[in-house]
């Protein structure tokens, strides 16, 4: 087979764990290399994914049609009521707007859409060219807010102005404008916000139920099944529980600074991390030992039911090897543990947006010989999948065809999944999906098994 080399300029973003080997500090937090087919997206994408699940807000994309068209009903973020977030709105800028400016079009679009859909707030996403053509989005938003009486929030998400992480920050900044504007009356002292949980396939509902069983009030979920009114009173909670650390840590820090709300980082994937996320919240309220008791009760009940059902999968999957390439590094940690609990090892672990601490921890967690990558690309992913003889790839839609072409199983752990993978029930679903994909008899025909095609 042809040798595949790593692009120059990417050597510091790829690392293989070896004892006694050179201790390379993985380089991350950098922009993608020009010409490399990054699996990352852009600033706009970062903002869009974070705010997308806010179901009773109007999401208007200011720019040419593509950005809105490609994000129309794209995620599995479900809502218990309003579904305004599932529609796609764009100012659809044309050549003349680029020449003469798009402010008027933005203004009229907003006034008409707000009149028609009566949203609780509006988010206006700037795309690449908006900054260049000099539209004063802030001014238009202020004007429309005044005329309509709802918050109209600019999201500065010009695609090229940074990486996806900057987009997360721009989205959090917009959320910060809302937080603190609602009443905190009647909010329990034993209350939390769930941050960075997007209610994909109803996951936020699963998590919420666990906390509620512990006697904890969930003030708001940011942003899964999100509602503007709930966001407005988020500052009334006693603790912020942050999942998907990549997108929401900034918001948690801001809220800590402004409202004195402490935060903890959690993950809801896998038995170990799911349990820990309940215990860690309980620990925050030491004066109420009954909360910890209730948490233990929830975990024990759930695990009692879950554990035996996983054994079938574990038996089949023991010794199989997985490659993980997902958006956030925190998820990678959980997945490594979750995979180990069903007998699988991890031969490749990476993320689009991990930071230095994340990669240091990843290195610590991984087995000897595991390849660790930051901001990888299809060529690299394929190279390591083949070299390390992985049986499974965990990633998103963009990684799926790589796995299937190479004849290995795949588990979609991204925003488009339609089956909940969080919580205890999510661990079951995850194991089932991995099992169904890895153990399928169709791979007997894959050329990597030496079959002639």
């Amino acid at each position: 087979m042809e040798q595949i080399s790593i692009l120059e300029g990417r050597h510091k973003q790829v690392f293989e764990k070896k004892t006694g080997g050179e201790q390379v500090e993985i380089s991350c937090d950098t922009s993608s290399l020009s010409g490399s087919v990054s699996q990352r997206a852009c600033v706009f994408c970062g903002s869009r994914v974070v705010l997308y699940p806010v179901a009773d807000a109007l999401h208007l994309v200011h720019g040419p049609i593509g950005c809105a068209a490609y994000t129309w009903d794209i995620r599995g973020a479900v809502s218990s009521g309003s579904e305004l977030h599932r529609l796609s709105f764009s100012t659809d800028l044309q050549e003349m707007d680029v020449i003469y400016g798009g402010e008027k079009k933005l203004y009229h679009s907003l006034i008409e859409l707000i009149e028609q859909y009566k949203p609780k707030a509006a988010f206006i996403y700037s795309t690449c060219i908006v900054g260049l053509i000099g539209d004063d989005i802030e001014a238009v938003c202020k004007k429309v807010a005044k005329e309509t009486g709802i918050p109209v929030l600019p999201v500065h998400s010009e695609g090229f102005k940074g990486t996806k992480k900057d987009g997360y920050k721009a989205a959090c900044h917009a959320l910060m404008q809302l937080i603190g504007t609602g009443s905190t009356e009647n909010i329990s002292k034993y209350s939390i916000n769930i941050l960075g949980e997007f209610n994909l396939a109803g996951e936020a509902w699963i998590i919420r139920k666990y906390y509620e069983k512990m006697g904890i009030e969930v003030v708001s979920t940011l942003t899964g099944d999100g509602r503007i009114d709930a966001v407005r009173r988020a500052h009334g909670a006693s603790l912020n529980v942050v999942q998907c650390s990549g997108s929401m840590t900034w918001l948690a820090k801001e809220m800590e600074q402004k409202y004195g709300i402490p935060y903890i980082r959690v993950s809801y994937f896998g038995i170990e991390d799911m349990s820990k996320s309940l215990y860690d919240v309980a620990k925050h309220f030491p004066e109420r030992p009954d909360i910890m008791e209730a948490a233990k009760q929830v975990v024990s009940e759930e695990v009692k039911e879950l554990y035996p059902s996983l054994q079938k999968f574990k038996k089949a999957l023991t010794g199989k090897k997985a490659a993980i390439y997902v958006g956030g590094a925190f998820k990678t940690f959980s997945l490594i543990k979750a995979l180990r609990s069903i007998g699988m090892s991890v031969v490749l672990a990476g993320s689009q947006t991990g930071n230095k601490d994340d990669y240091a921890r990843l290195k610590e967690m991984c087995d000897e010989g595991t390849v660790i990558v930051d901001d990888s690309n299809p060529v690299e992913l394929s190279k390591f999948i083949l070299e390390k003889e992985a049986d499974l790839l965990i990633g998103g839609v963009k990684e799926r065809p790589i796995a299937f072409k190479l004849g290995i199983g795949f588990c979609d752990h991204n925003h488009e999944r339609k089956i909940p993978l969080a919580g205890f029930v999510g661990m079951y679903n995850f194991a089932l999906e991995v099992y169904q994909s890895v153990m399928s008899p169709v791979w007997q025909f894959a050329p990597r098994k030496g079959v002639k095609i």
Partner: protein, 450 residues
Amino acid sequence: MKHAKTATQNACKLCNPLGACLAFRGIENCVPFLHGSQGCATYIRRYLISHYKEPIDIASSNFHEETAVFGGSHNLKIGLKNVSKQYKPEVIGIATTCLSETIGDDVPMIIREYKAEFKNGSPMPIMIHASTPSYMGSHIDGFHAAVRATVKTLAEKGAQEKLINIFPNMVSPADIRYLKEILEDFKVPYMLLPDYSQTMDGGPWGEYHRIPPGGTPASAIAMAGSAIASIEFGSTLEASKSAAGYLEETFGVPRYHMALPIGIKESDKFFDLLETLTGQERPEKYDDERRRLIDAYADGHKYVFEQKVIIYGEEDLVVGMTAFLTEIGITPILCASGGKSGLLRKSIKELIPNMDELGIKVREGVDFVDIEDEAKLLKPDFLIGNSKGYTMSRKNNIPLIRLGFPIHDRFGGQRMHHLGYRGTQELFDRIVNTVIEQRQNASSIGYTYM
């Protein structure tokens, strides 16, 4: 309820660079390259993957803030260098985006500079540049711009060959395979562009392919200037924007321009043209296909007669489908497109002169909210178009027959035929079955023979 008209809601179109990327995937050993932000490439890859279910590598020059201020020249050059190194392509298909167009990057000049700077390095890939600003037109314009730019870059004048160029428009990989089969059966040398029949619908890989096998070779495209004729599908595709138009203008290769051959009449025109150009009769196999199709029309005619449908999608697909639907007695009460060539109505009128009597309404430049509003008034029996009509189909309880691009919520969109007798047969069967299924479901008896 007052309806917002200024904004586009649930767009019935995609952006210009998407079409260009797809077209570039139809060239052998070619990497599509978007000169713009990272997001454009990633979103387009994701969107195409959901339909074609193939890995699709699209490189990006990955603009940063400084790039936007000082111009994209530096990034583009580094990008080209990196892509050349990692993919070893024979061709790089560079399409611009709204960003690079707005800052006014002179891509042809940057390419010239790049070639001069790196002329002593490893073999220089052929570079094709298509201008595809997202604020103009839609994905179909990007598709044609890329095909035209490809021919413009590669085609040469040579001694006239018994060669036919065929530009099939944005059709499915299955359609492309069928067209190739037809031309091979006619035993005529041909140059079909773009040919993504294998790159977007190929087999499994024993090893990693940086660029999947398949596609029209650059050397074949070079011959396009010496062909005896170009056949170009797409009623609304003007010569000034098309590959065949360029070849006619520059090398005098006659352009035979026609609608997408869907339905018997339009397919006949295509086969007649092939007979004329090659001086051969169509192989018996196609007469058989045609006879079976006529037989099927007879068997199924009662189910479909005077059914009312709304058809939407790219304008040329809408024209082709309208021709087919009217010949089986279905009335497309609305022919809608997000595209805006200004030629949709005229093109339909050419094929169906009595369109107004039939009650065929045409609307260009619409989005799915507009189409839904029409659907509420017109009450069609079903909708025909891509997957993006599902939201309105579900909400209004109108069945949707999926075809074209994208098919994101069904399996096998890339293997669906639309063209010729074979494609028409498939479409006809599906339409009849949709009607039968509806009747069967609505029946209180539940007949088992329909």
